[in-house]
């Protein structure tokens, strides 16, 4: 597939801990097309953040280590780049927005200083040019009086405004890919709606591709075009957003959707709940990681881990069972 902007194949990441090796990502392959918004959903510990951090070379090593795989970006493998090489990609061509806007901004530098830094570093602007561009960027993300607010420190901004600053910073060098790691999780719903609205507008104006990592299926429905569902360090389902919500096929996806109450529609009585809890990944799973919690599990599920296989042209599922019939595929 030549039209892929980012092509990740067989990615594996492990962490050494005092209790043993944690297999956080266990062979993840996906592609990102130009200008598309890809949602990555899963619960804490499913490997969704670690996958993206691995691609950008941001896994702290030690204890973490990318042990296998490749991530092609314009023909180059990001995983094989030296620290210096990948620093030129990070922040310039691929940038990232994190969950907590308070801890990802430096509290002792002004917002202006922090916004100008990537412009001077990556694009080679002069200080004055960078200052002007920084004010433009703040205006673009909807901060009133951008020129004055450049001299403020992060604590003088509210949570929603800080996240706007993070977005402005990530867009400073017009990246081709924006990776947003739970950017609205720490925010209230009305502020979350503002930020999602802003990102959609900027996406349409600037045409960058977005990877939006979240645990909230509602957010994914509102922003993504294609979705990866992750569980236990694997992608278990991949589909367009419409298809995923209309025809969820993996038992985990079905369970997640069933366990969510909705503010619209009629009251559904008792919530569907998935028994048990997410796996601890001290061993690389040899069987299906979801089998212990799955009501469809068959003998084969305990013996062999299913690979992602297509059920239709753009819909892939890693499951031995056809959940529509309850029989083996």
């Amino acid at each position: 597939m030549p039209d892929l902007l980012l092509d990740v194949k067989g990615l594996e990441t492990q962490f050494k801990t005092p209790d043993g090796i944690v297999h956080a990502v266990n062979g993840v392959s996906f592609g990102l097309k130009e200008g598309e918004t890809l949602g990555v959903v899963g619960e804490s510990g499913c490997g969704k953040s670690v996958t993206m951090l691995s691609v950008l070379g941001l896994i702290p090593s030690p204890p973490g280590k990318v042990t296998a795989g490749e991530a092609k970006f314009f023909g180059q493998d990001l995983l094989k780049m030296s620290n210096d090489e990948i620093r030129h990609v990070r922040g310039a061509q691929i940038s990232m927005v994190f969950q907590d806007p308070m801890t990802s901004l430096n509290p002792v530098l002004t917002i202006g200083r922090q916004l100008e830094e990537p412009l001077i570093l990556h694009i080679g602007m002069t200080k004055n040019q960078a200052r002007e561009r920084a004010a433009e960027l703040l205006a673009m993300v909807g901060i009133p009086n951008p020129k004055d607010r450049l001299n403020d420190y992060p604590h003088q901004y509210s949570g929603g405004m800080r996240q706007r600053v993070m977005i402005a910073m990530s867009l400073a060098c017009s990246p081709q890919i924006l990776i947003a790691d739970e950017p609205t999780t720490a925010l209230d719903v009305t502020i979350q709606a503002q930020i999602m609205d802003l990102v959609k507008r900027l996406r349409d104006e600037l045409g960058m591709a977005i990877v939006w990592i979240t645990h909230d299926l509602g957010v994914v429905a509102g922003i993504a075009q294609r979705v990866l569902v992750m569980y236990g360090g694997f992608i278990v389902e991949e589909a367009t957003v419409g298809d995923l919500f209309a025809n969820p096929s993996h038992p985990y996806t079905i369970g997640l959707l069933g366990s969510l109450p909705r503010i619209d529609g009629k009251e559904e009585g008792r919530l569907y709940s998935i028994d048990g809890h997410p796996p601890v990944l001290y061993q690389k799973p040899r069987s299906c990681p979801f089998a212990p919690r799955c009501k469809w599990a068959m003998e084969k599920c305990w013996q062999e881990n299913p690979l992602l296989t297509p059920v239709s042209s753009e819909h892939r599922v890693a499951c031995w069972v056809d959940t529509k019939t309850g029989r083996a595929r």
Binding site: S44, T190, I191, D216, A221, V241, I263, L271, S273, I274
Partner: protein
């Protein structure tokens, strides 16, 4: 607020909680955080009242002030006919048997140096309601009630997952056979697939023990699921209170409308068809709240009167209360 009703278990009247701010060498009071500023509502016996709002709106402070964990600045909290605010410490301690709390963070609210058995037994020891063998039997029973294996009673909290820890917290809250439980964001620290388990458990326990809940949360979808009636708070004030179905079907207050329209729906088709009311700006500081209506600075339909006087919290339809000049 409403006519006298025998089924009212808890009546909160004009409750205020202001936290003083001290500055300077002499620690003079220079202001106050108006965390809760005149809140009134009833909770009926056996029902679940949902209390929703965004962070900093005072919903948790309301819950804690009801339990007298803070000394209220003003107002009354009448529980089963007794005003808790006027009770002496020892009387309040006894009354607390009937009112318990489930906390948000299952990691911080359990003592890491105590075994699960000790944690669940502690309220019974403190209130001397059981001794020795009785306590052990009761702990086993409570763990069983919350679907935890009593064989794990000698383990420590760190050996359990988040959802299991929340079950321990629930078992502890049930230890003294309370009639009323304040659930302060009991599921927001949990993973999505675990949230449903805990909510189902809370609903089962309510039926089994005839419990009354005040369910504090910011997740409007979950509140809709669990509550019979819902109150919406903004900046220390209740803006709207109604039956669950009325509130979600026909929200009257502009803040409730904006809040509901901002909740993402896990369905791309339904989500695309919705009308969004996007609020401008952020919540003002509760140190210096806006005059008149608290919401007017962000309200799309605010008028002159909204800055001049605070709207009454009035019943516009049977059981549907709204604090807005424009409704």
């Amino acid at each position: 607020m409403t006519a006298q009703n025998n089924d009212v278990l808890l009546r909160v009247e004009n409750l205020k909680m202001h936290f003083p701010i001290f500055r300077g060498v002499l620690r003079r009071q220079v202001g106050a955080v108006h965390a809760v500023d005149g809140v009134s509502f009833d909770v009926m016996r056996g029902e679940t009242l949902g209390l929703v709002g965004e962070s900093g709106c005072g919903k948790s402070t309301t819950g804690r002030t009801i339990l007298q964990l803070y000394k209220a600045t003003g107002g009354n909290v009448i529980f089963d006919g007794v005003d808790l605010v006027s009770l002496k410490a020892e009387e309040m301690r006894k009354t607390r048997r009937k009112i318990q709390m489930i906390f948000q963070d299952p990691y911080a609210s359990l003592n890491p140096r105590m075994t699960v058995a000790d944690i669940v037994a502690e309220p019974m020891v403190v209130h001397s309601v059981a001794t020795g063998k009785e306590i052990k039997e009761r702990v086993d029973y409570l763990l069983d009630v919350v679907n935890l294996n009593p064989a794990f009673a000698s383990r420590y909290p760190h050996e359990f997952s988040g959802g299991q820890r929340q079950r321990i917290g629930i078992a502890r809250a049930l230890a003294l056979q309370p009639s009323f439980i304040v659930c302060d964001e009991p599921i927001s620290a949990l993973d999505v697939s675990i949230q449903a388990q805990v909510v189902n458990l809370l609903e089962d326990l309510q039926k089994q023990f005839n419990l009354t809940y005040l369910f504090i949360a910011h997740d409007l979808s979950m509140v809709r699921h669990i509550s019979k009636r819902v109150a919406v708070m903004y900046l220390g004030v209740i803006m709207e209170l109604a039956n669950r179905d009325d509130l979600y079907r026909e929200p009257l207050h502009p803040y409730t409308q904006a809040l509901l329209s901002a909740v993402p729906i896990p369905d791309p088709v339904a989500d695309a068809q919705r009308k969004r009311v996007l609020l401008e700006g952020d919540v003002p500081s509760p140190v210096n709240p806006p005059s008149g209506c608290r919401f007017r600075t962000r309200c799309p339909i605010a008028d002159k009167i909204c800055a001049e006087s605070r709207p009454d919290f009035r019943e516009v339809k049977p059981g549907h209360f709204v604090a807005c000049h424009m409704v």
